[in-house]
């Protein structure tokens, strides 16, 4: 374990980024599980293009990144509010796109 830690020292891991990537990995695994056990069909939402769950996840993550950046740039308030807004946005994407 110690060896593993020293081998990956150059990656400069932090608990926070570790959690972040674990979250993304968890989402991907969840999506994989859903794709296997709950297959879906594409649907057309407000964008007028057919999307799958994966597309909606991608749009949610990408949009959330921009929401967080915009929050940092435009608002002085705590970033967690930006995260909350991102969750709302993700919910909207999964519901309407």
């Amino acid at each position: 374990m110690l060896d593993l830690a020293s081998n990956f020292a150059w990656m400069a891991w932090t608990p926070q980024t570790g959690l972040f990537f674990a979250g993304i990995l968890g989402l991907l695994l969840l999506m994989t599980g859903l794709a296997i056990w709950r297959p879906e069909i594409e649907r057309i939402g407000v964008l007028g293009i057919p999307t799958t769950r994966g597309d909606r996840l991608f749009l949610s993550l990408l949009g959330s990144a921009f929401i967080h950046l915009a929050w940092l740039g435009l608002s002085g308030a705590d970033l967690w509010w930006g995260s909350g807004l991102s969750l709302l946005y993700a919910a909207a994407v999964f519901r309407f796109v």
Partner: protein, 302 residues
């Protein structure tokens, strides 16, 4: 069409995934790790949270100001070259021969600039535009027009824009040419029978048929010019002053010049996000263009 997808075949791409993880995902994760920390070298890192991102997005800070102005220059550059290359490319494509030996000759000639490596293009223009030994620079100066891309920002911009137009208009023209070639003769015959003017033929037959390739051309050229590094780096090195410092040049200055890994990482992530968003638009437009769907299906949003 309403059959559910079976995605199990994706397991077969696992080897590719491993390679991509090694070459892209792991470095990208490292960049994310760097972006929330500060380092003074020697693999010692200190937590900085969202600090770099805050600085990046604050135009009054040094980092934010530099990034914002290089972003502005980059967008201006992309706008200018698109405004020149797209109409010019269409014009060239319209003027290209349709049959005979001239087709092959023109195609080879047009493809030439596309085959030249970026840094060689930069070197060619770096020499070509010099006032003392360069053909272009010398000739322009002899005409009595002051032109020195080393000291004059406008001359530097003209040089870089001209270089990009020289390098990439061919791509737009070749794409448009492919679009034009796909128009059946019957369309032109019908237009002739109807007595359509040259403009009407262009506006209602050729342009609509070129729409698809034009979208590809615009998006490709936008992406490429938004990420441009080598050519301006070779020709002007980002100067005079900062006048041709584009995003990628700024990024390299931060990461390799100042060794500010945290700032550079934060900037790369923001830069990457913009490119990812444009790529998504590119991909979505490309895959959904000209797809006919029954109107009833569109209503089934929920």
């Amino acid at each position: 069409m309403d059959r559910p997808y079976d995605n199990r075949a994706w397991l077969l791409v696992l080897p590719v995934l491993a390679i991509v993880a090694f070459s892209a995902v792991i470095p990208l994760m490292t960049v994310v790790n760097y972006s929330v920390q500060d380092t003074f070298g020697n693999n010692q890192f200190f937590w900085n949270g969202a600090g770099w991102f805050k600085e990046l997005l604050d135009p009054s800070s040094d980092l934010g100001g530099r990034v914002l102005s290089s972003l502005g220059r980059n967008l201006a550059f992309s706008g200018i070259i698109l405004a020149i290359e797209v109409p010019l490319g269409i014009a060239v494509a319209l003027a290209m021969p349709r049959e005979g030996w001239k087709v092959a000759a023109t195609l080879v000639l047009m493809a030439m600039p596309l085959l030249v490596p970026w840094n060689v293009v930069g070197t060619i223009w770096q020499v070509f535009a010099r006032g003392d030994i360069g053909l272009l620079g010398y000739a322009v100066n002899k005409l009595g027009i002051p032109y020195n891309y080393v000291s004059d920002p406008i001359a530097a911009w003209v040089t870089i824009v001209a270089m990009d137009v020289w390098h990439w208009t061919s791509l737009v023209a070749l794409l448009c040419y492919a679009g034009l070639k796909s128009i059946p003769d019957a369309y032109y015959q019908a237009a002739r029978i109807d007595g359509a003017s040259r403009w009407a033929v262009f506006r209602f037959i050729q342009l609509p048929k070129m729409r698809r390739v034009l979208i590809i051309a615009v998006l490709l050229r936008f992406m490429d010019s938004f990420m441009i590094y080598t050519e301006p780096f070779v020709v002007t090195g980002g100067g005079p002053g900062n006048s041709t410092t584009f995003l990628s040049i700024e990024l390299v200055k931060l990461a390799l010049g100042q060794f500010d890994l945290g700032k550079a990482a934060a900037m790369s992530i923001a830069y990457n996000l913009v490119i990812l968003a444009v790529c998504w638009v590119f991909y979505t437009v490309m895959t959904n263009l000209d797809v006919e769907r029954p109107q009833a299906e569109t209503g089934a949003a929920s």
